[in-house]
């Protein structure tokens, strides 16, 4: 311990794991939300919707537990080698495959934020007056065309806002990432290498912070995290609010 502190590796880990999580969760969540709002038979939509909402309340320590003991072996045993085999020429898929790594953390985070994206997308689409899509259908659009070219553009800012809220949740997530990201303070090109996030380093090292400077450095990390997530969430909420106010 030399009393020198730097946050770059942690910020990198936070941003990269959350960005990958959002990329995965946004695509899947938006499609799932569309299905629940528009295409699913009513009873199936209610069942799936209830399930996804209830499971959104699953505590993060439980996701962490599952990620550590179930997903991590799958990532190092199957998903990692498969990705390496198919796309091994990319630097992000090279190197030794650890079980606890950036990829596992991103997958767990993606799972945790998918319900948010799904539920909000569903609610936004359900708020669009039905005559909007009926007009498109009457003009000869297929149901997917009515959705993708008429309804989706109306709610696009709101869906974007929903994604920001989900991103905010991923950025601030602590326990689950701490359990599966590997906690190594280094920037590695490979997603198969362990990383570290701002929230995890606070969680791991706070009780070991023996000097005042050490403690202050960790609280500074907390401030960074706070500012990032307030900006992201504030923007997301303003978008959602604007959209709901102008009445879609």
């Amino acid at each position: 311990m030399k009393g020198r502190f730097g946050a770059l590796a942690f910020i990198y880990g936070t941003v990269v794991s959350s960005a990958i999580a959002l990329a995965l969760a946004a695509g899947i969540g938006i499609l799932a939300g569309i299905y629940l709002a528009e295409f699913a038979p009513r009873r199936l939509a209610t069942t799936l919707g209830t399930l996804i909402e209830l499971l959104a309340a699953v505590p993060s320590v439980v996701y962490g537990l599952w990620g550590l003991f179930v997903l991590a072996p799958v990532v190092s045993g199957w998903i990692g080698p498969a990705l390496q085999g198919a796309l091994g020429f990319l630097p992000v898929f090279q190197g030794t495959i650890y079980g606890v790594n950036m990829l596992t953390a991103s997958l767990v985070l993606a799972l945790m934020i998918v319900p948010t994206v799904t539920a909000l997308t569903r609610d936004l689409i359900a708020a669009v007056p039905r005559r909007t899509s009926e007009a498109a259908l009457a003009l000869g659009a297929t149901r997917w065309e009515a959705m993708s070219r008429v309804v989706l553009p109306v709610v696009r800012p709101g869906v974007f806002g929903a994604c920001m809220l989900a991103l905010g949740r991923a950025l601030g997530e602590t326990i689950a990432t701490t359990m599966v990201i590997g906690n190594r303070p280094a920037i590695a090109a490979s997603l198969f290498a362990p990383g570290y996030t701002v929230a995890s380093v606070i969680a791991n090292e706070f009780t070991e912070a023996t000097t005042n400077l050490y403690l202050s450095a960790l609280i500074e990390l907390g401030l960074i995290l706070f500012v990032i997530s307030v900006i992201i969430n504030g923007a997301g909420r303003l978008l959602m609010r604007y959209l709901l106010r102008v009445g879609l």
């Binding site: 996804i52 309340a57 505590p59 320590v61 439980v62 599952w66 326990i175 909420r237």
Partner: protein, 296 residues
């Protein structure tokens, strides 16, 4: 779905041979959407199934009622953690519920100007502050000055996490009431206080209670702020000014430990935690439905 008939018309309007591409495109995207929705639900169900499978084995009466034993000594459980959770969450609720309901009433009944808009926005932003940052706040305010960890500081952090949820649901359910309700109470000569307490709050009760339950569910599963507020304990502890065990914190500690029997206990603890949180969510749902049948 209403649009089905129109979709049929649309399909009839296009000649099959000419629009195969569009039909396939339509089918493919709709199938993809369905697969995504069912897939998400399935993965999440799978996680639940796994936890039940792994957790049920270690679940027993002793597990629920005894404090942890040292590593290698069989038996032991999360009884002190469950007690700690109840105490910490209970104190948090006592702090957050009244304030949250008061603010919600203010926003719904009196809040029209710029100040109310600002409070609303700030409360929304507060809802999205990472829980670990809230924990740090509680640490600097209530742990550092006293030089020891305490369950009370954890309750304080939890109260901050709960408040925005309570505010939002209280305001929301009050706003859903028809304005005539308030007007008729005023017309009968009720004072402002009577209108709010005997009429509006009573009519909005199911919605408010739903919000309270959801807030409870939210913090019951929260772990991060506890790391440096409640801190955890291996023993029974009922004094909120001392460090205290908490269920989700125990699961975390057990999960990252290298011991196999602790892992087993972590799964069982996770099962208990999930059951508790889902029960709160389920009750909230039932109460919420009640509003639709009564308040309409």
């Amino acid at each position: 779905m209403k649009a089905t008939g129109n979709a049929g018309l649309a399909a009839g309007r296009t000649v099959r041979g000419l629009s195969v591409g569009r039909h396939l495109n339509d089918l493919a995207w709709r199938a993809a959407a369905g697969i995504c929705a069912v897939g998400v639900a399935a993965v999440l169900l799978m996680i639940m199934g796994y936890i039940v499978r792994e957790g049920v084995g270690a679940l027993s009466f002793t597990f629920l009622t005894s404090a942890p034993h040292p590593v290698g000594v069989p038996g032991g459980g999360v009884g002190n953690g469950i007690a700690g959770t109840l105490i910490i969450v209970g104190i948090a609720a006592v702090m957050a519920f009244p304030i949250g309901i008061f603010v919600g009433v203010y926003l719904a009944v009196y809040g029209h100007g710029r100040i109310a808009d600002t409070i609303r926005f700030l409360s929304d932003v507060l809802a999205s502050v990472p829980s670990i940052a809230v924990g740090l706040f509680a640490y600097t305010l209530l742990v550092q000055p006293f030089r020891h960890f305490s369950a009370f500081s954890a309750s304080f952090a939890f109260a901050i996490l709960m408040m925005p949820l309570v505010i939002r649901t209280t305001e929301g359910s009050l706003r859903l009431l028809p304005p005539e309700l308030r007007e008729s109470a005023v017309a009968l000569g009720a004072s402002d206080y009577q209108v709010t307490t005997r009429c509006l709050l009573v009519a909005a009760r199911p919605g408010i209670v739903t919000g309270l339950l959801l807030a409870l569910a939210r913090v019951t599963g929260e772990t991060a702020p506890l790391l440096f507020t409640a801190f955890g304990s291996q023993f029974w502890q009922f004094n909120p000014s001392n460090p205290m065990a908490e269920l989700s914190l125990q699961i975390f500690t057990y999960a990252i430990s290298p011991y196999r029997d602790w892992h087993q206990q972590a799964w069982a603890g996770a099962l208990v935690l999930i059951l508790a949180v889902s029960a709160l969510g389920m009750i909230a749902r039932v109460v919420f439905r009640q509003r639709h049948s009564v308040g309409g």
